[in-house]
Amino acid sequence: MSQNPFETFYNLNDIMEGLDIERALSIYRVIDTDGRVVADKEPDLPRELLLNMYIYMIRTRILDGWLLKLQRMGKVALHAPNIGEEAVSVGSALSLSKEDWVFPYYRNIGVFIARGVSEEEIIDRNMANIDDPFKGKEFTILGSKRHRIGPVTVPVGNQIPHAVGFALGARIAGENIVVMTIFGDGATSRGGFHAGLNFAGIHRLPVVFVIENNQWAISVPVKKQTGSPTFAIKGVAYNIPGIRIDGNDVIAVYITAKEAVDRAREGKGPTLIEAVTYRMGPHTTADDPSRYRPPEEVKRIERYDPIQRFRRYLIDRGYISEKEDKEIYEEWSRKIEDIVRKCLSKPQLPEEVIFDDVYSKRFWNLEEQVSEFRESLEIMKKLGVRVE
């Protein structure tokens, strides 16, 4: 204890980073709903980056539509649509360098696309077919070691301490990388949020926490999730600066995330970003939002659509023409349709896959159980019963 705790006073002027709360209470935006620049300063981003952002967002949306369709066709077990939230995934993912890692959550397909994971891999995964890199044990796209995307956790928010531990690992190893983790507004209520941010705050770890605040956790609205005015302000509890932004403005997302990533890389510690967005669709294909929210609310939000806003901006600024825009959309629609067709033709995973990867090797109990399993398949054949 360097200071005498009984005599330690702090005041707002000794600005501790985590206490600069102005940015946690306002909302940062670069372009408005018409694609017009409203920020004091228009960030000077290269055209190629802007176009990439745009294409990634479009690919994400097309893919999302297909996953929805495949779910309805019974080819995919469950899907959590991310329509309207693409800017959060794409903008944050692009702020990272190749050597950085990101620990996203189930709604962040855009992160996978932006980091270079192919549509084919994502669809294989969601269909759990023979090429599923994860071999059919769980829904959703679960990460990609090659693309430095950490494993998605189905229990909400459990990846938050993983990202923090990973960043600690990088520090111990002397590797100067940044780790980002993305999670929903609901996830902020879980223990892992508290434990993860607390640890990152103590050790000033290079972690960027992105809250994808889409206003709802299934049917639970933000005001039942927290009593605090914003989520960004929660950083104060951990001495982590919090910043609130328009999450449907991909430029604002990118700029803010990039600033946080740079800070982290320079050893200035973690940042908490609250990206305000909106869940346009149902929570998942199993949900029926009409039970708990009025369709007017969704209508009211439509004009914030991140793709439309950004499209207008790009066209206004002359980065693309209407025609090029249409071509991009058509090209990717075609490509992804072909991929879907290909994926649909792939065989399913073999039956014994259910015994794989429980441990690094099979212990005797699973050996015994596999033989019973084989016998049961034999019996099915013999009796002519089908259970699947």
Binding site: A77, L78, A128, G136, K137, E138, F139, V154, P155, V156, G157, G186, A187, S189, R190, G191, A217, I218, S219, V220, K224, Q225, T226, A286, D287, R291, Y292, Q348, L349, E351, V353, I354, F355, V358, N365, L366, Q369, E372, F373, E375, S376, L377, I379, M380, L383, V385, V387, E388
Partner: protein, 325 residues
């Protein structure tokens, strides 16, 4: 008598209990307007208001911790865990607090909460929406664990759980939430804790099971009867702890053969306790090994789940082994 599925029967039980006893409070994620993701709490918020039907933030630890606080005050909280697979964050509150409250304080304080949750597989729910984790609760002194297999039982058992003076883990096999319909009396009835039932009488083999597996066992028994004339008696445990050992022993006295069927993984699944109990207290009744047909010792898979779960072929195979022994 109205015909109901299990969701309706559970909903009815909750509604009736909330009417009967103002101390009954429902809380959990999405239990309000959404009515729970399976609609078990549908309409309760309209009838009883936001004070008694509480949408909580996304924290299982909070849900159970708050429920324990409500119970300490004297309320009868019925906490929903959206899927039992997400109960683990609440484990400390369940195992260290709810289960031990009475014992720790010599009875001065008690925390008779009900934690209800959809469980088990069969709906392509994959690893984190299909689990059967009853063993964790059965092993924990201080908890009662139940799982109904039919709408009729569901209503009477949930009422028993709500009226119990001890904490109850109430597991609802989601695959039969809507598939089984039957007449459910409008009266107030309670199915006593600790009582199983014989769902099929037989003389050659005793099959002990519960939840959705009751129906799989029935199919297998039918098949075996048709093929070989073997007569299987099937016991639906209903209460998993304290389980109805007398009913099991009585049946094994008759049959001399015992198979236990459950979806939970084999190692230390409830089958282990039943087998051990019989081999400790009634081994001489047995004419052969005690066979367990269970989920395999792996996480619950998305693909081939019907092959993973005990199915008609696997149960039939066990019957064959034990009859040919």
């Amino acid at each position: 008598m109205p015909v109901m599925n299990m969701v309706q029967a559970l909903n009815t039980a909750l509604r009736e209990e909330m009417k009967r006893d103002p101390r009954v409070i429902v809380l959990g994620e999405d239990v309000g307007r959404r009515g729970g993701v399976f609609l078990v709490t549908e309409g309760l918020i309209d009838e009883f208001g936001e004070m008694r039907v509480i949408d909580t933030p996304l924290t299982e630890m909070g849900i159970v911790g708050i429920a324990v606080g409500l119970a300490l005050y004297g309320f009868k909280p019925v906490a929903e865990i959206q899927f039992i697979d997400f109960v683990y964050e609440a484990f400390d509150q369940i195992v260290s607090e709810a289960a031990k409250m009475r014992s720790k304080t010599g009875g001065m304080f008690t925390a008779p909460i009900v934690v209800r949750a959809p469980c088990c597989g069969g709906v392509k729910g994959a690893m984190h929406h299909s689990q059967s984790p009853e063993s964790y609760f059965i092993h924990t002194a201080g908890l009662i664990t139940m799982m109904p297999s039919s709408p009729y039982d569901a209503k009477g058992m949930l009422k028993a759980a709500i009226r119990a003076e001890d904490p109850v883990i109430f597991l609802e096999p989601k695959s039969i939430y809507r598939t089984i319909k039957e007449e459910v009396p409008e009266d107030d009835y309670v199915i006593p804790i600790g009582k199983g039932k014989i769902v099929r009488e037989g003389s050659d083999i005793t099959i002990v099971t519960y939840g959705a597996m009751v129906y799989t066992a029935l199919e297998a028994a039918k098949l075996a009867e048709e093929k070989h004339g073997w007569s299987a008696e099937i016991i639906d445990l209903r209460t998993l702890f304290p389980f109805d050992k007398d009913l099991i022993i009585k049946s094994v006295e008759k049959t001399g053969r015992l198979i236990i069927v459950h979806e939970a993984p084999k190692t230390l699944g409830l089958g282990a306790e039943i087998a051990a109990y019989i081999s400790e207290n009634a081994i001489d009744l047995l004419r052969g090994p005690i066979i367990r047909v269970t989920g395999y010792d792996t996480p619950f898979p998305l693909v081939h789940e019907k092959l993973y779960m005990p199915n008609i072929a696997r149960i039939y195979l066990a019957m064959q082994k034990i009859m040919m022994y």
